[in-house]
């Protein structure tokens, strides 16, 4: 993770070099730094840093979009005259081993449409999720594994 510090340093340096320490120039510096570290990665000992960086950005945007979608979904459910959903508590087996990755997954699950993480098993192998649309528990399980776990794994690997 020392590359992350280098990356932030590069962003600040870029902003200072362009003579304006403002938000857009910092953002620009972060992207330019990402490109530089993508090229320098093999030399500095982390050949996948650039890829992971862009995957993390993509994940952040995907997450913001899902947050918006979940707000719309809650609005539709609240304003519908009859309450027609079948909630369920589903166990999702985890392949993530990194603790930070599991925390990220649990947080993302809680803020995306229809799911809320309730508990984690003692050996950290299984996340218990409350879902509002549990007609098909298998589909809910697969959606979490496919949409979030795989993307997070790509960032942390």
């Amino acid at each position: 993770m020392s590359l992350l510090g280098l990356h932030l340093g590069m962003a600040v340096l870029w902003a200072m070099a362009t003579g304006s320490l403002t938000f857009p120039s910092l953002l620009m510096g972060i992207f330019v730094g990402g490109g530089v570290l993508h090229l320098l990665g093999p030399v500095l000992g982390d050949p996948r840093y650039g890829i992971r960086f862009y995957r993390a950005i993509a994940l952040a945007f995907f997450f913001l979009w899902e947050l918006f979608a979940s707000g719309i979904r809650v609005a539709i459910d609240v304003l519908r005259p009859t309450l027609s959903f079948t909630p369920a508590v589903v166990a999702v087996p985890l392949e993530l081993r990194n603790e930070a990755a599991i925390v990220l997954l649990a947080n993302m699950v809680s803020l995306t449409p229809g799911t809320l993480s309730i508990d984690l098993s003692e050996d950290r192998s299984c996340l218990y999720v409350h879902t509002m649309y549990g007609e098909d528990p298998e589909a809910a399980r697969q959606a979490i594994k496919h949409d979030f776990e795989e993307r997070i794994q790509e960032v942390f690997r």
Binding site: V74, V78, T86, P87, P93, N107, S117, I118, E122, E135
Partner: protein, 132 residues
């Protein structure tokens, strides 16, 4: 009228709509878990949109960063609070809605050592869950 005002006003109104929806959801949904769905998602989104409006209206780096920090903080804490509270509610045995279809967490708390202060967690995954 300029664009900054227009965008900020639209963000404010959207945030107000989501916040109102989450409050109605908290009253209307039938059990505590669904109420948490409404409060966590729509509430965080509504507050985030209003903070975004504030950062656009003032348009200075320090204020933008500050409102981003608040939003980031909300994104970090709202799910954690819901998680902790959901587990506590489950552990305390708050009833679920009668139409809850499936409960794979049922009976997974270790009943044997109910020592105070020791938090209850689901015991090791059993064989009945068809997953590796």
């Amino acid at each position: 009228m300029n664009w900054v005002e227009l965008i900020a006003g639209v963000l404010l109104l959207a945030g107000a709509a989501f916040v109102l929806v989450s409050a109605i959801g908290v009253v209307r949904f039938p059990d505590v878990y669904m109420r948490m769905h409404a409060a966590t998602k729509a509430g965080t989104l509504g507050a985030g949109l209003m903070l975004g409006a504030a950062s656009i209206v003032f348009g200075e780096l320090g204020i933008t960063v500050r409102s981003f920090v608040v939003f980031f903080f909300l994104l970090l804490t709202a799910p954690v609070a819901a998680h902790v509270l959901g587990r506590a509610a489950y552990y305390a045995g708050v009833p679920r809605w009668e139409r809850t279809k499936l409960d794979e967490l049922a009976g997974r708390y270790d009943e044997a050592d109910g020592t105070p202060g020791e938090l209850g967690r689901p015991v090791q995954r059993g064989d009945d869950i068809p997953y590796p």
